[in-house]
Structures are given as C-alpha cells and as structure tokens.
Symmetry: C2
Subunit: 228 residues, 2 copies
C-alpha cells in the first residue's frame, strides 16, 4: 500500500469578506482519483478546495480555500506520500489586498475600476523542488488548455519536473465525461477519449502502480539495509 | 394566489473560459423564500445563479450565470409578478473584457497585474423604474453589510424605491441560521435573531401577504370594471 496525495477543486482568492476570484473546477476529477486510489488499496489524503462533493469513505480529506492554504497542506503531506496527483485548478493570481470590509466603489458615479493582482506561488514548482531532494515520488500534473495545448503541456511536464501531465480542455471542468491526453516524462502519450471521470481516474491510478510499487520496494530495501 | 418572483444565489462574471469573479452566496435564503411562498399557495418563479441546491417541487426555476443574464430574466418576468424578492447577491462589477482563450500573464516574470472592471447594471434600480410605471408590486431588497449597516440599508430602501429591505451580515451567506433586520418603507423595523433561513423565509412571505392580496384584489376589480 502506498500513500497517494490528491489535490482537487478550485481555490478561491478573497477580494473582501464576500467577493472572490475563482474558477469552474467542480473537483470531480480529483475526487474520482481519490476514490480509485482507495479502491486500488492505497492510503489516500485529499486536499480539497471549496467543492460540493461528498468525501469517499476511507479518504482523509483536508479542506482549504486559497492557493496559499493548499500549498501549506501540500508541504505538510508531500514528504510522506509516494505519489501526488495535482488535479486542483489552483488560481494563478490573487487580489493584492484583501479588504476587511465590503468593497465599495468611491461614490456612485464610478463606472470602471481595476483590481490589482499578484501571482500566487506555483504549487507544482514547489513540489518539484522538494522532489529533487527527497525520495522517489511520482508527480502527476494537470494542464487545462483552451487552444492546441499539447506542446504547452509537454513544456509544463519538463519545466515542472513532472512524471506525467494530463491535458484536458475547459469542457472537462464541470462535466461527468471527459477526454484527456496523458504525456509521460518517458515520451509516452496515451489518449483517453470521451470516458467517465471514474474511468480516467482508474487509468491514472494504474499509471503510477509500477513506479509507486518500485518506490515502496526501494524504501523497504533501504529500511532493511538500515536494519541490518 | 399571487405570482412571486425570487432571485437567489450569486452571479458569476467570467474573466476567461475558466476563471470568474463571484461571491459566497449559497442561494439558501432565496430558495427558502421560494419554498415558503409555494407553501403559502403562491405561484413561484425562481431566477437562480450558479448554486448547488435542488429546486423546490412546483417552483419554476430559471438558471442564469451573470448579472446581465439575471437582469434579462428579471425584465421578462417582473411585469407578471405581484411581489419580487431580490435575494440574489448580484456582482456589482464584471471584467471589462472577457478573454476567449485562457488568460495568461505576459512572460513568466510578471508578478503583478490588474484586472479592469466595469460596473454591472443595477437590477433593483431597473426594477424600481418599471415599478413606477406598472401595477402595484411589492419589492423586497436585501442588503449585506459588514459594518453597522442599518443607515445604509434604509438609504437603499429609499433610493431604490423598495417596500422592504432585509439587512443581514456576511455570516449569513453560507450558514443555515441567520439574523436579519427588516426595514419597511412605512418605517417599520422587525428584527429576527438567530432563526433558520426557513423561519426567516416564512416571515418574509408573511410580510407581503397583505399588499399582495390587495394588489390581486385591485387587479380583479380593474378586470371586473373592464368586463362591464
């Protein structure tokens, strides 16, 4: 049994006590991966943004709201995991200042305004750095591309030191069926067209079965060597 | 039987195909009002932003996403209604331009950016103008105030030509229990503290029972006069 860490859903970046920036992610893909990993006999930790989904029984769920909260949870649990699925749609930007009171435009007449934004930390890049230092871990990223995104997904795979990147289009965000293309760091390319998210989740969990087992075996060997 | 129009939930204002501005409204207050109005024997039309709530059986539900879509639905149905409950948390602002592709910062290095916003149409003001022209209709607005908001709520009552304004704090947005203060155009003030949203909904439907019945009677009288 390996420990599988999954992030799911959107993050919300507050503007004031009621308003926020967010995105359309339903969390279904990440929750399906968590359920599939559990069914495959793994221990599963699910870090979830604000979604309306029930926790699969047996999964340890950690609820977060913002990208920075998700990063904190990720840092806390990444070192103990054997594989990470970054299925969350993390907000790239957050408002520069969060107002403690409700945001109001100056006077009634203003018809335009602007919201200053700062870049959120790159969760995958942070994880990739930790990965270089620590034990062997499989990291699976997701890329949401509205154009022809395969080249961009491959670039993300290399840039962020991922083992796999799962490319899907915006149509996938709130749907039950989806089409994905999985690019591996070893040059493999697998297309799964018009599948349920559950079927894609099983395929994704299957992808890391070998590396995860290998990682577990290698740890055992080390532990056995240490015990000698 | 009167026709009751209810708006509920947040609106979402798209930035690009996946990102948006929104707010914390769960839609529970509006859905509770719709259910209470139905239980009181009224015909109910519910205009709902993106929420995760089941439609009360017997309610006619119209789903919308943006403030402008909500306004269009409101314009279409306001003339036929006897009372309107504006329980939706309509976004005041929307991005000036909606990108057709996924929004990307120029180059990797940019750490700050800004999002240009324009003011959304004021749905209550639009309705108030229609109200001045048409038949007698009761309009109930909602004010969400993070500070001491009673003076502001009363100002909204007058400025937007409302019959009642329901003041609640941000804590109400995603909770099952709530505290509200109802200000009437006739100077009445009713405080309902720590009630379920269902109990508040019944009280709110009760508030307009008389004006609504009076309006129906007055229409009938006109119709009877016209028939003579």
């Amino acid at each position: 049994m390996a420990t599988i860490l999954v992030t799911a859903g959107p993050t919300r970046e507050p503007i004031d006590p009621v308003r926020f920036l967010s995105n359309e992610s339903s969390g279904r893909m990440g929750f399906a991966i968590a359920a599939a990993a559990l069914a495959a006999g793994h221990e599963v930790i699910l870090i979830a943004g604000p979604v309306h989904l029930p926790t699969p029984a047996g999964v340890r769920r950690i609820d977060v709201v913002t990208a920075r909260e998700m990063l904190a949870a990720l840092k806390q649990h990444f070192s103990a995991c054997d594989a990470l699925y970054m299925a969350a749609a993390v907000a790239d930007w957050r408002p520069k200042r969060v107002l403690s009171g409700k945001w109001r435009a100056k006077d009634g007449g203003t018809q335009t305004t602007s919201l200053e934004l700062v870049r959120n930390p790159d969760l995958l890049a942070t994880v990739a750095r930790a990965k270089l230092r620590g034990k062997a871990r499989t990291v699976i990223g997701f890329a949401l591309e509205s154009g022809a995104g395969e080249a961009r997904a491959r670039a993300k795979l290399r840039r962020k030191n991922l083992d796999f990147v799962v490319l899907n289009g915006p149509a996938a965000l709130n749907a039950t069926r989806t089409s994905v293309i999985i690019h591996g760091a070893d040059g493999t390319r697998v297309a799964l067209m018009n599948r349920t998210k559950e079927a894609v989740a099983r395929a994704l969990v299957g992808l890391v079965a070998r590396p995860v087992r290998a990682a577990v075996r290698s740890r055992r060997t080390k532990a056995e060597r240490a015990a000698r």
